[in-house]
Symmetry: C2
Amino acid sequence: MTEVSHSKNVDELGTGKTEDIAEKNSLYAILDQALVCHAGVIMNGKSSVQPTAYGRDGDTLYFRSAVAAKEFLSAAAGHISICVTVLDSIVYGRSVLQFTMNYRIVEVSGQAREVIGGEAKRRGLRSILERIAPGSWEYARQPDDSELAPIAVLAVDLAEATVKIRTGGPRDAPADISRNSVWAGEVPILPPSWGEPVPAVDLSGPVRVPEHVSSRSY
Amino acid sequence: MTEVSHSKNVDELGTGKTEDIAEKNSLYAILDQALVCHAGVIMNGKSSVQPTAYGRDGDTLYFRSAVAAKEFLSAAAGHISICVTVLDSIVYGRSVLQFTMNYRIVEVSGQAREVIGGEAKRRGLRSILERIAPGSWEYARQPDDSELAPIAVLAVDLAEATVKIRTGGPRDAPADISRNSVWAGEVPILPPSWGEPVPAVDLSGPVRVPEHVSSRSY
């Protein structure tokens, strides 16, 4: 493994000087792997961070809110910071200060616009659903217009997205390395896998687990 | 599975009305399972969200920064929003709008104080290290005072932490349930597991993988 990008450690927060824009392939790969993003807006003068499902369609990131969440929608229209994080390994150093994690991160800083129109909203919702549950948009019942009305679909442009990737081992001091008394390296974090599907308690009758659920891979 | 707490869906961001304070055991269990938090502060008038490693010692959450990151430290001292998210399952509904995730979330809204003094800083750093790499504080080389100087250890009180938990299946409309034509339920997201340790490229000689690394469980 080699250093792909920069040296910012994920356990050192707030330095934020690295602005590598990786290839779009890296950007898409991260966004198409994670299940949740963390979105921050300013509400009541304070930063507020919440996890949310999201979807990607081309170079647009979608997520949903409630139309009634006016304060949030207004804040997100002004500015929203979105972070998608994939952890790849724990990096073990010879010195306790050299421990870190290998990660792939997408950071988006932008403005959220509310998607207007039934077809456009459906397209955004479909991208969110297909991220967390591939194959489900065609399988489950799609919404009518009255169901769409109370849902706000928000879109953020990925043009300004930043990708940060750390790979490789620890960066111990030469004295620690030459002492050669402590194991150092990486322990990979394997991607989560799926457990056995559990039917809903209100599911009655012989509805089989569909193929797109039973054969799901991460 | 039953509803433990509230009805806010993780894919509906910004409603944030639920303020269930769960038992401390739930709080601790979430914080002692996740590897990363997402922290948001206001910098240059905008919300900025970043992932970072963290540790817990009693009712204090610790994370680190660089002493030189003055703008971040100043912002975090004013207010910081921290979110720790564990995803437990994908919830499949009969309607595409009823898909959601089961999750356990800790949200902390507070002020970060900089930890002063070598012993107190070591205690905070130890809690961070032991979260991402249990057993490593005693095994690896501990820092001297000159190494500690450029590191800011930040502490946030957990007294104001909020726990949000969603469990159970989808909440489909009666008409969708009685139609009984679509599978609904949950697909568990199994916790990540660890891959085979990879030695650092600059590790020479017969340093064996220590027990606390080779026997690591999630």
